[in-house]
Symmetry: C2
Subunit: 422 residues, 2 copies
Amino acid sequence: MKDFALKGDILYSKSLNKVSQHENSYLVCVDGKSEGVYKKLPAKYKGIKVYDYSGYLIIPGLVDMHLHAPQYIFVGLHMDLKLLDWLNTYTFPAEAKYKNLSFAKKAYDIFVHDLTLSSTTRFSMFATIHNEATLYLMNELEKTGFKGYVGKVNMDRNSPKYLIETTNKSVKNTLEWLDACEDFKNIKPIITPRFIPTCSDKLMKELSKIMIDKNLPVQSHLSENRSEIEWVKELMPKVKNYEEGYNKYGMLGTTTKSIMAHYVWPDEKGIELMKNGNVWVAHSPASNRNLSSGMAPIGRYLREGIKVGLATDVAGGSYLSMFRAIEDTITTSKVRNCLFDSEYYNVTIEQALYLATLGGGEFFGKVGSFDKGYEFDAIVLNERDIPTVLMSELNLLERFERYIYRSHTNVYAKFIAGKKIV
Amino acid sequence: MKDFALKGDILYSKSLNKVSQHENSYLVCVDGKSEGVYKKLPAKYKGIKVYDYSGYLIIPGLVDMHLHAPQYIFVGLHMDLKLLDWLNTYTFPAEAKYKNLSFAKKAYDIFVHDLTLSSTTRFSMFATIHNEATLYLMNELEKTGFKGYVGKVNMDRNSPKYLIETTNKSVKNTLEWLDACEDFKNIKPIITPRFIPTCSDKLMKELSKIMIDKNLPVQSHLSENRSEIEWVKELMPKVKNYEEGYNKYGMLGTTTKSIMAHYVWPDEKGIELMKNGNVWVAHSPASNRNLSSGMAPIGRYLREGIKVGLATDVAGGSYLSMFRAIEDTITTSKVRNCLFDSEYYNVTIEQALYLATLGGGEFFGKVGSFDKGYEFDAIVLNERDIPTVLMSELNLLERFERYIYRSHTNVYAKFIAGKKIV
């Protein structure tokens, strides 16, 4: 891989409340990693290729912590029901189609095409229960140059007969799938029990064993919707709270890394289990609006030291654009604040940029920053269609803010671990 | 004006809960008005020009009931404060710039350019206190072919010294402005007291007189933010509620037509004043999120027979796109429902289409429908970048829904009162 530099207006997060801004500067990539930002290209990099994005905004690639690739076929549709009815009416029938590999290929090709053009560089996504289709998706993502996690979904109860596995089959399929995944270099498997309602105790125990034996991360859904939480109480009457329902299998960061999608309604005791620094909340504000789930208290999580990343949650979420996830994170925090909380809970534009880059990126290793040693994930934003009357007065963070609110979907250029994708 | 027809997939609202869908049909325009929709072009229209938009979705133009043209210069910025601080810190200084006509020309040219490409066909907007700049804006809108209302803003108290008029000057300027407006055919003046906090009792009385004498509609802001409402109580200690604060001047539809922006926090007695059928709530869900104002109970308003239209409220609102206003109306209603209300309050996609067309359109006369006799406002939507795996199974309303959620900003073609604008 050849070394190179990007020239442009460079913005990235240093920490939750602090950004680093470098107008008209150079961002150097050596061996797929950032060598840092320079006002003038140092002599030792003389002769490397320079991509000239002068006047363009360059930020770290955005990290989508939770989305369902198979659901992209109905993105922007079917959001008139709440979670459990929505799953049974729209989502399960749609996911069942992926048993048919030729359907899956057609659908996943479109999904990977659109994800490629988007601002997303890293992700953790759900596929379906089907091994063949899941491996096809992983292969397409790998070929494109993405890095991230994909999970073959497990579900052995409370699911329609056309989209359910026996416990034994679910375990066997998982092991076979994991064997096949060894061919991939950049797309990695993640253990994926759909959520407690669709996974028996026996299945959870088996998945936990595999997770620990093979040192694999885990992803699932937690406390998204109030009816779901009531149901989980009925399903696990002896377990104190939904959080403990995962924790008892080592799935809240006590054994390997974990992502829990949504976490809209924390339990006052269960929330303590979320503070060990090895479990991430995947905040999906659009999905939580669309499915009438609620508004997750992200300001509180940040204050209490819970790890948070942002997510589109396609297709409960209605877009693939992480720019919109940033916007919706900010506006949801404001509405929450206005109705329930104190000023303290507003998520600022600085914080939202952090959450969409370093916040989620940390799950993937050294990802989400341009500091030296971080993997070189970068996107280039074209602001040409933005009103420019006051443009000269804006700093880079303000330009980023304005860009976010302009409903943009795609990027001008994109690099993942030093490879140019767009 | 020559007669013509549009050919394509035609969708429009018949009433709040009912849409009319016509695949591969003709929409005929005669003398700037709709002659209705036909599966086959009737013989009597033989030879008229047919714009062939086969496969494209055609819907009525969208009606933006409330936006601030001068604030477009900072759209997508400066939303870290709540209403009153936001006005003083960002908005008033920005509006003051429009005293300078050359600045105003530059800014309004960009605004009109972007509004032209947008889905908006009708509007009621605020300008600033400045006559010259306001007339320039109106002239540019008129030249483009828009129809709608523009208001020179009045404010004579509680405003910074660089953006305030004496009461007499405010009245005199208003009368001079109204005289100058007589030159316009399609862009009409609307009486525009900014809101009660910035308008003295004397000014309100004078504006009310002018409004009634000249039979002009009126627009203002009502019950947007809780601090604002408290302040109005202090300013008008003898008046029962904020609603009555306007009603006592005949400004809630009892004399002429009225638009009240926001109405996030209705008073349980004052709300009765909003039910006379001649006052519209301009619902601005994005603005109400951005400025931490709250979530207006639109489902309740619809149930109780209050007129509602949708609005972007640029630049408390962060976009010019009425598609986004439709999306945000739906999602705001869901979050409200989930937290406070019953299922009854969800705004459906059918209802949101109605509100964005006929709901607001009625304020402007026969606007917002393709039924015979309505003014011919139509927009054509290009869905080519939408995932198409399931496309053949979608009806027109579902295609519209999916389009809305794809974060679109602009349109493929646009007609206003029979004139092709885009």
